[in-house]
Every structure is written in structure tokens, then in C-alpha cells.
Symmetry: C2
């Protein structure tokens, strides 16, 4: 038996994985997927300038622990102060640091039932107590979230806008108005991973150092750098400084810093990718409709498709797609789990999806 004596909290945690990766599934099924449409990655890829910058980076050197150049570029891009920005190892990494800073054993945290599982994983990992409110018409419900936060004296409340896994979104003004209900002493964690894919006005028109919230953004989605692990938090300088208390100071990959900087500066590539994402969203919606299903409106780089029945049926459809080499995922919670979630893909990816979906549906209908 190992000499490691785990803390009582660590003993209580499952050795679980929030998501099973596509590579794990490929090893289990003994072959690669034909279309990788399950992880909301950006199949259209990063800027060639980003790829070149990563290739040229000196891998033998540690990355700059201050991510100085990337933060300076972000500050210029967003017209804000570098003191409002913290770069970290993806939003996942930053969420972990934030939860660690704020949440001790027994502390209350609020999220939506069916929202991002990795946030919940971090909260559980630090002993926090999750309170969940339901979605409302496939949207997260800011007023319900903030009201619940006041009720349970939450330290954090999580809201993704646009939302994952449903693709729904609120206008920024809706969030601004709802913030009046956010209690003092509760920080809004506004996950804006998909904000680049959303219509203008989706981000709340508030200064980035507004003390009530922290925004989380990433290079993993529109910028096509999921494999690089670069995210950033935008917030009040006191909060940004607090990350230094717990973060892995030398944790940033050097090439990733350079790649993100180059990606940020290639507006033309971003515009081209967003055009392709929009086309893919339309195509996914058409495929759904062609099969008698209802695509949900999306402001993200994926589309949730309502399969029209319950979660068991949607899971059967998903299994049928997986069996046919199409990697997709689905929401975990009722009633959102009547849907499957399909990431934007190339025309070839979506051709493969279009070919597999009718067969998966027919098979699911015989089972469910």
C-alpha cells in the first residue's frame, strides 16, 4: 500500500474524468473517427502565422512566467490595462485556480443544471457545495442564478455566454441588468469561451475590471489553438493579482504563448474562420431539418440538435453516430439531454455526419 496519506477531502473524491477524450474512444473502438465533431474544437485551424510562431519557438527555454508579451497584446487588443488580465493554461486551468482561491470546504457555489462539468469538477475538488438551477427554455437563467446565489450565500456563480452545451446566448445587456441581483461577496464567473463566435452585443458592455465578475476567454475555440492550452481571465486588478498566490508560475508552454500572440494579430484569419463556422452551423441545421429534427439557434462553434424525444433516445442516436465513426457529444442533464451536440466541421466532416445521421436515427427508433 502506498505511503501516501491522502487528505480526507482527497479520499472522498472519485478518480473521475469530466469528459472521455476522443482518443480514448478511438482506442476502444479500434479505429480513428471519420469526423471529429464532439469537442467543440476548431477544425478550420489556427492562423498559419500562429503555426509558424510555434514551430520557431525555442522549446529548450521555459516560457516567460509573466506571459508579458501576450498580456500586453491582449491589453492593446481589448483596449484595457494589462493589470486586468491573467493568462493561464486554458480556461480549465484558470477555473481551477479561481475555485482554489475562493472555495473552501462547505462553501456554496451556484451553476446551472447541465452547465460545464469541468467547473463542477473543480468545485467538488476543493470541497465546495454546488447548487444548481434549471435552464429556462434551453437558456441559462441569469436572474435565477443570481437569486439562488443570494439565497445560499454563494462565493461564485457560473454562467457561460454563449452557453455550452446548448449554444444559446443572452444579449450582454440582459446580463448587465441581472447583475443588480448579484449579491456583494459573490463573484460572477462569466465563461466567454465562445464569445468570438457570437453576434455583436453578446458581451456585456462593462469595464473589464468591473469588481462583480471575472470573464474567462480562450484561444481554444475561434483561434483554433485548443491543443496549446492558452486562456485568459479578465477582472479586477485585486483578483488578477490573487492568481499569483496559487498559479503554476512557469506552467505556460513557451510555443503556446508565441502562437497565441500571433493568432491574436491575424484578424483576417479569424474573420475567415468565423465565416466558415457560420457556414457550418447553417449546414448542421439543414442536416437536422432534413432528418426531421430541430436545430437550436447557436452563437457558438457547434449546434445542439433536438432529437425530439428523451435522453435515452438521444443517447441511442449518439451511439449510432459514434459507431459510424462520427464523434459527437450530448448534454448530461434533463431536459437538455434530448439533444446531441455537433461541432462545426469541414464540408467533408459534415457530409459524413449527413450520411450517418439517418442510419443512426433509424437504429435508435428500433431501440427506444
Amino acid at each position: 500500500m502506498t505511503h501516501a496519506r491522502l487528505t480526507p477531502l482527497a479520499q472522498s473524491l472519485p478518480a473521475s474524468v469530466p469528459f472521455v477524450g476522443p482518443e480514448t474512444q478511438e482506442r476502444a473502438r479500434g479505429g480513428a473517427f471519420d469526423a471529429r465533431l464532439g469537442a467543440n474544437e476548431n477544425v478550420f485551424g489556427a492562423s498559419p502565422n500562429a503555426r509558424a510562431a510555434m514551430s520557431e519557438a525555442d522549446a529548450w527555454m521555459y516560457g516567460d512566467p509573466e506571459s508579458h508579451d501576450l498580456i500586453a497584446a491582449l491589453a492593446a487588443h481589448l483596449r484595457t490595462d494589462p493589470a486586468h488580465i491573467m493568462v493561464g493554461e486554458g480556461i480549465d486551468g484558470l477555473l481551477g485556480y479561481l475555485v482554489r482561491l475562493c472555495v473552501g470546504e462547505g462553501d456554496a457555489v451556484v451553476t446551472s443544471d447541465g452547465a460545464y462539468p469541468t467547473f463542477n469538477y473543480h468545485v467538488a475538488g476543493f470541497g465546495g457545495v454546488l447548487h444548481k438551477v434549471p435552464y429556462k427554455g434551453d437558456h441559462e437563467d441569469p436572474m435565477a442564478l443570481f437569486t439562488k446565489a443570494a439565497e445560499v450565500d454563494a462565493k461564485l456563480v457560473y454562467l457561460a455566454n454563449p452557453d455550452n452545451p446548448m449554444g444559446s446566448w443572452h444579449e450582454g445587456d440582459t446580463i448587465v441588468r441581472a447583475l443588480d441581483a448579484l449579491p456583494q461577496g459573490c463573484l460572477l464567473v462569466l465563461d466567454e469561451a465562445y464569445i468570438d463566435c457570437a453576434p455583436p452585443g453578446t458581451a456585456p458592455d462593462l469595464p473589464f475590471d468591473d469588481p462583480r465578475l471575472v470573464r474567462m476567454r480562450t484561444f481554444s475555440k475561434a483561434y483554433g489553438l485548443a491543443g496549446a492550452r492558452v486562456g485568459y481571465a479578465l477582472g479586477h486588478p485585486d483578483l488578477i493579482t490573487a492568481f499569483h498566490k496559487v498559479r503554476n508560475h512557469f506552467g505556460m508552454n513557451r510555443a503556446a504563448q508565441a502562437g497565441a500572440l500571433a493568432a491574436l494579430e491575424d484578424d483576417a484569419h479569424l474573420a475567415h474562420v468565423l465565416y466558415q463556422i457560420d457556414g457550418a452551423r447553417r449546414r448542421i441545421a439543414e442536416i437536422a431539418i432534413d432528418n426531421g429534427l430541430a436545430p437550436l439557434p447557436s452563437a457558438a462553434n457547434f449546434v445542439a440538435i433536438d432529437c425530439g424525444r428523451d435522453g435515452t433516445f438521444a443517447k441511442a442516436v449518439l451511439d449510432g453516430l459514434i459507431a459510424r465513426g462520427i464523434f459527437v457529444r450530448m448534454p448530461f442533464a434533463v431536459p437538455q439531454n434530448r439533444c446531441i451536440r455537433v461541432s462545426c466541421g469541414t464540408p467533408e466532416d459534415l457530409d459524413a455526419f449527413a450520411a450517418a445521421l439517418p442510419k443512426a436515427l433509424a437504429e435508435a427508433a428500433t431501440k427506444a
Copy 2:
């Protein structure tokens, strides 16, 4: 004021940085260093195969959360079972996870006075209480460490072999014998970051799943991939599994996984680098002797040089080198801080060091 309510522990932590990075120093001095000899990086660089693998990696995809292929290759390389291996974001990242798993507020941890500050940072960050034992003749002292661990009921005891910052080492058999004194319920964290640079027999001849210890190894040193952030832990399967409770499952950079795998398979490049490291160690020692200083024997990719007086004098020498564009570091604790620590460099790097050292020494002599 930010709405973030930090935990009492987080409030108590300083927003400190264990090490100031060379880029920060370069920005402060307004110019690049001529020789980067302070971070124990590998200036000889990674295998060209590793560089090619990283360039070819698909940055738009998340990395495999299981690091399956890299772990399989490590298991084959080390002739052990994949269940004994956990890959993570460098040793720093893995140390953070390990401390989080084992150390709660008030728990005792033992290390040497002047050993790796980032380990101490993690222990403090989770509320652990550090107990330090002195070095003995510029070596960490395994028996003293394990005896202290028993005395204070430590959950973890840290030992680096070879040691950083002194470069000293113990034969593996010395550690094996000392382990008899390690109390049940205390895990030895054996940091083997520099093991590839050390003589045969430096690693203890124990199975990798020995329940008494966890070994930490890295691709940052001999393999030249510090910027990629890839380390691994070797230990008992129960401990390895526990990492899944708290780790950032999708935290590994995809290109870094591919680069580490390619580096691991390029034995010829590793041998060439180790030859260059050995030559650089000899050259650094010669430069020290030429200046009337005493180089310490080293089994790592750096050499500690005894400047012959106290820490104030050594700091003045270090400042003189920094001012002349030579980035080096020095131990923090008495009496090791009578030394400066010089990483292996190219012949040109060491020419620059050799040119700057006499001037830095002369200047320090007038000050101290």
C-alpha cells in the same frame, strides 16, 4: 473592491513568485542576456525529431487527456507498467497535484533548507507546515530528512537526487538504505529531474511501484523541452490513480506530448547532449579554478561555484555577472549561498561567462 471572497488560506498567501524569470530581468535591464545560464535549461536543444513532431502536431485538437501514447512509450523505455506512470504539466505541475492530494492545513512536510522553492510554494499554498533540515557538506541528508519526518509525522519528505542547486548526488544505494528510516505514512518525493545527467547507479534500484516513494522526472532538462512542460511521476498504482482526482485532465499541450514521445525515442541525440553537458561542466569548473574559485562536483546540467566567502559576496558576484549580460542564479540558503550556480552552455556562452567573471569578482571584492 472585487466581489471575490478569498478563503482564509488564500488571503494569508503572498502573491509571490518562487523565481523571477530571465525575461523579467531582461525587460528590467532593457536588453537581452548574452548568455542564458541561470535556469538549468538545455541550451543544446531538443532532438530534431521532437521539434518536427511538435511542428506537425494539430494544434486545433485538444491533447489526449490520457497521454496514452507517451505513457506507453515511457513504460516500454523504463520496462515498467503504464499503471505506474502519470504524465503532467512538468514536475512543477505534478508537485502541485501531489501536495494537494496529501497536504491539508497544518500537515507536516519535510525538506532541506535551501532545496527546491517551488515545492515549498506548493506546500505553503495548501497550508502545510514545512520543517527543514540542513544540508550536510553541500549534500542533502537522507537520514536526517527521514528522521525528521518521523519526528514531526510528516506526510511528505522531499529529496532531489541529483540535488538542485548544489549539483551533489547520492548513490541510489544510499537512498535505499536510508529508506529503512522512512516512517509508514510518509511518502518520499524523490525529484529526479537531473537523473539523466547523473552517473549510473544514482537512481535507487527499486521497482517504480515501490509504495514508499514517488519519483518525479522531466523532459525539461536532458531532453531539452523545458518550454513544452512535460514531466512524469513514477509510483505505486494507487498513488498514480489518485492524480486523476485533482489533475487538469485536458491540461497537456498536444504538441508537447508528441514532442516528448519523439525525444524519448532519440537515444543518439540524448547521448550527444549528455556529452555536451559533460564538456560544459568541465569547462565551467576550469573557468572557476582559473579565477581562484572552487567548482563543486556536479551530476546535473549545471555547476555550483563556491565563491569562497559569504552570501553577500556571492550575491555581488552574481549581480556583476547579470550586469554584464550573463544570467545565472544562486542558492537561497546559508551556507549554500556562498555559491553561484551556472548552467551548462554552449562554448560561446561559456566564453562570455569566462570574460565576465573576473570583472564581476573584482567588482565584488571592492564592495564586500
